[in-house]
């Protein structure tokens, strides 16, 4: 692993750790926190600090250290956090996330809010603000050890009382020749020693002959070497495991015969060592970590020293539990932390390749099926039933592969917690975000691309939806506003809802603004849903003054565009005084969709099933002429414009719409519906979506392509763009319906 790889792993792990942190903080705020929650938060912060130190990320280390100190006080019961303290903890978590992000961008910038939060943390930790920027605390501590004589200690095996006396006096002699990069790579000898202690009796002897004098001393370098004698019944593999990441640095050799003299050979060194026998770990855990510092070092919590220091991205579960156990013991804490769920980090590219190949497999299966049918084989023949199995397996495989890409929305929702917090702070509102269905899994791409629209909607909800506490109390509502963010699977789609219990939409105001901005004519009569949908129009922003949050000129239209580009829909509903509900429905994945295979003007096309409302074979009297070439479909008392799909896409020119055509009623988000006239509908099936933009470019009216059973390409129509292409017919129709007044519309 190169240093860059290690760093990448570090940031990937930071993400997980920050997630744990944020989750834990939420629990603390909610009052559901137990000891383990605080421990988990502490460990997350500490792990980040440890690894950040290894990469020399000073800002991160400084901040994490202060944060950790406070958390340690909470953990040990010294500090019972009040609301204010909890708030600081939350904000610190956010700040830590910011710092990680900055570090990832290689920026040494200090966020504006950091000093204020640091002050608060220092206040909580009860320490003088002090500059820890340059010293990784664990290094500091070890150097103390160096100066005052590292005392080789015998660390008794943990839980010795239960363990039988070691009957085997064999053991290993280990020489750890620390390289100068030992600390930089995130290793800590103390951790190694405590891990060894779990295997047997340990005697260590420190060789300080490598220490340079005065000026040449680099606090980030390790100059010490250790000789370790390990005794007890253990296997060499177990010992080697401990040094898994340090293999080049150490020599391990079995002791042939009992050697009671220890390190007789090391006589050329200053005999600084005294062997402290029988130093029970339980009574004085800190000794291992801090051998009697003379001056008071920063109040580094003792357990932290032997707690997990993230091994620069090479964290091993063994290290984790071995380190955590002695840390918890002195406190009498019960169980070691739950074993983290094992996950696999895979380059998304590989998964995409797999998905593509599986898509091909399914197409290939369809090709074979079609060819066999053409050969006139009976559907009950052996080969056909084998083919059914093949199809079944291929689908199964596809589902499995798709599931790899699926991710729970939880991290996304947790980010929203932060958005709410920040927005509420700025606006002086009290808002709680209640997240539901966090375990709902959706495609990774969707998770990523939902972040921005969702952020925008959440900010809007806080800014425009929730009222100020005074107004809320005056309206007889609790001062604390609630935003409910939920995710759920609904018939093959993912439904995400953002509901606030605020004032609801001010329809009168929305209409006024829309009129004043010239978005609708002044005398337009709009229904309530139509007014609500004005919010989604480009150039509409109700913010009376431009706040830092929402209302930056980009409005809900951007949200809508983003959702639509993901193949989703967003709808709005609102009740005055009770709140507003935004619903987003999204396809589970972008790679496969349900389509209706249609034929128009000799071409095979696919219409997304999600936008097809119904298919109609009209009676001649249902198709009525409208203008010179236009046709309207009379359906259940309303008139819907008919668009000739072949003409519209330019495959044919001036073909007449007749009652021979089959009509597909598609819905438009903005208003009304449109009926597409096609020649034939042949199938309804799942299609694998292929981008056209890879080797060609975007085509108006076409969203992508797919490959059909015969191996040929069919284009997938983009229903929203089709409606745009057809002109704003839908809207014209809506007006016509109201006025019942014939005016010529551009139908061609």
């Amino acid at each position: 692993m190169s240093r860059d790889d290690l760093k990448a792993t570090f940031f990937a792990e930071c993400e997980d750790l920050l997630e744990q942190l944020s989750e834990g903080s939420q629990e603390m705020i909610a009052g559901n926190a137990d000891d383990e929650t605080v421990n988990a938060i502490f460990r997350a912060v500490h792990s980040i600090k440890g690894a950040a130190g290894a990469f020399g990320l000073e800002n991160l280390v400084t901040f994490a250290h202060c944060f950790e100190t406070v958390l340690d006080r909470v953990r040990s019961g010294d500090l019972v956090p009040d609301t204010d303290a909890l708030h600081t903890i939350l904000r610190s978590g956010d700040m830590l996330a910011d710092l990680v992000e900055l570090a990832q961008a290689d920026s040494k910038e200090i966020p504006e809010a950091m000093p204020a939060i640091l002050d608060k943390l220092n206040e909580l930790s009860g320490t003088e603000p002090h500059d820890t920027a340059d010293d990784d605390v664990s290094i500091d501590m070890d150097m103390d050890a160096g100066f005052f004589g590292f005392q080789p200690i015998i660390l008794d095996p943990i839980g010795e009382d239960e363990a039988p006396e070691p009957t085997d006096e064999s053991g290993f002699r280990i020489r750890l020749a620390a390289s100068s990069d030992l600390f930089r790579n995130g290793h800590d000898p103390v951790l190694l020693f405590s891990e060894l202690a779990a295997l047997g009796r340990v005697e260590t002897r420190c060789d300080m002959s490598g220490l340079p004098a005065g000026d040449e001393f680099d606090p980030e370098r390790c100059y010490l070497n250790w000789d370790i004698t390990l005794r007890g019944p253990m296997t060499e593999a177990a010992v080697r495991d401990v040094f898994m990441f340090l293999e080049d640095l150490c020599e391990i050799e079995p002791i042939e015969e009992p050697d009671t003299t220890g390190f007789a050979s090391a006589e050329d060194q200053e005999p600084v060592a005294t062997v402290l026998e029988d130093l029970p770990f339980e009574d004085s855990a800190p000794v291992a970590a801090r051998p009697a510092p003379r001056t008071a070092p920063p109040p580094e919590p003792a357990p932290a020293a032997i707690d997990l220091a993230l091994g620069a991205g090479t964290r091993s579960a063994a290290l984790d539990s071995a380190a955590a156990e002695p840390a918890d013991r002195p406190k009498g804490a019960k169980a070691p932390p739950p074993v983290p769920q094992t996950t696999l980090r895979v380059d998304p590219e590989r998964v995409d390749r797999l998905i593509n190949t599986v898509g091909e497999l399914i197409i290939n299966q369809a090709v074979i099926a079609q060819k066999l049918l053409e050969m006139g084989l009976a559907t009950n023949s052996d080969i056909m039933s084998d083919l059914d199995d093949y199809q079944y397996l291929a689908r199964e495989l596809q589902e499995g592969v798709m599931a790899i890409r699926a991710q729970p929305v939880k991290p996304l929702f947790q980010r929203m917690q932060r958005i709410v917090r920040e927005a509420a702070d700025v606006l002086g509102k009290e808002v709680a975000l209640v997240a539901e269905g966090e375990g709902t899994e959706i495609d990774k791409t969707l998770v990523e691309r939902l972040a921005e629209p969702l952020t925008h909607m959440i900010r809007n909800a806080v800014d425009h939806g929730i009222e100020t506490p005074e107004k809320r109390i005056a309206a007889g509502k609790p001062a604390l506003g609630t935003i409910r963010l939920s995710a759920a699977h609904r018939s093959g789609d993912v439904l995400i809802e953002i509901a606030d219990d605020g004032a609801g939409l001010n329809r009168k105001r929305i209409l006024e603004i829309a009129v004043s901005k010239g978005l609708v004519p002044g005398d337009a009569k709009l229904t309530e849903p139509e007014i609500d949908n004005l919010l989604f129009m480009a150039g509409f922003s109700t913010a009376e003054k431009v706040t830092n949050l929402s209302g930056r000129g980009v409005g809900m239209d951007v949200v809508k565009t983003a959702i639509t580009s993901l193949g989703g829909k967003v709808t709005i509903s609102s009740r005055p005084g009770e709140g507003t509900l935004f619903s987003i429905s999204l396809p589970l994945t972008l790679a496969v969709m349900d389509g209706m295979v249609i034929h128009a003007a000799g071409q095979t096309l696919v219409a997304p099933l999600s936008s097809v409302l119904e298919t109609i074979r009209p009676r001649p009297q249902d198709v009525v002429p409208y203008g010179r070439e236009g046709r309207l479909l009379s359906i259940r008392g309303t008139y819907v414009p008919i668009v000739h799909l072949g003409n519209l896409l330019g495959f044919t020119c001036g073909d007449e719409i007749s009652s021979d055509n089959i009509l597909i009623l598609i819905r438009s988000e903005r208003s009304g519906h449109v009926a597409l006239a096609v020649d034939e509908i042949s199938d309804q099936r799942q299609v694998v979506v292929k981008s056209l933009e890879g080797n060609y470019g975007a085509i108006e009216g076409i969203s992508a392509a797919t490959i059909l059973g015969d191996g040929r390409i069919a284009l997938i129509i983009d229903t929203d763009a089709i409606l745009t292409l057809a002109g704003d017919l839908g809207r014209d129709m809506a007006l016509i319906e109201e006025t019942q007044h014939g005016k010529t519309a551009a139908m061609g």
Partner: protein, 155 residues
């Protein structure tokens, strides 16, 4: 006649010659991915006339360009006797409909002549150089001319 800049005298180059619109053209062999039989394509709406449509190349969607039409030599009436040359231009893959593919030419850089500056339209930009062959000459096609025009700015 001066040689085009991009080839040094000593370079040994391989070109695949092809016929389109009755004329001989050639493309450097490193650009060619494969040669396939013509099969019907799926037409694209709002496409220029030289873009016949898209074809499925083992799961990838690639546009098919009628080279003769693109070079202003008239539309090619595609039949199973015609050939699709799949070429890579930058990171794009494009299929070219041509009359036939003839041979592989191995030439040194000094055998390549500059395309004379004459004519109008696409010609000066579409030909990089000329190579003398037995039955006359073969024109080296510029990569950009192979792409559908929607992609040309990109390439």
């Amino acid at each position: 006649m001066a040689r085009p800049q991009q080839w040094a005298d000593a370079d040994v180059l391989e070109f695949v010659t092809l016929k389109a619109g009755g004329q001989s053209y050639c493309i450097e062999i490193t650009q060619i991915r494969e040669i396939r039989r013509w099969s019907p394509v799926t037409a694209l709406p709002q496409a220029e006339s030289a873009v016949l449509g898209v074809m499925n190349l083992r799961g990838a969607v690639i546009p098919i360009v009628d080279l003769s039409d693109r070079l202003g030599l008239g539309k090619c009436d595609a039949s199973p006797r015609h050939v699709i040359m799949v070429v890579a231009v930058g990171d794009k893959t494009v299929g070219l409909l041509v009359d036939s593919v003839s041979e592989i030419l191995t030439v040194s850089g000094e055998q390549i002549c500059d395309a004379p500056a004459m004519g109008r339209g696409d010609v000066p930009n579409s030909i990089l150089g000329l190579i003398s062959i037995e039955e006359g000459m073969s024109r080296i096609l510029a990569p950009s001319v192979l792409l559908p025009s929607v992609l040309r700015e990109v390439a």
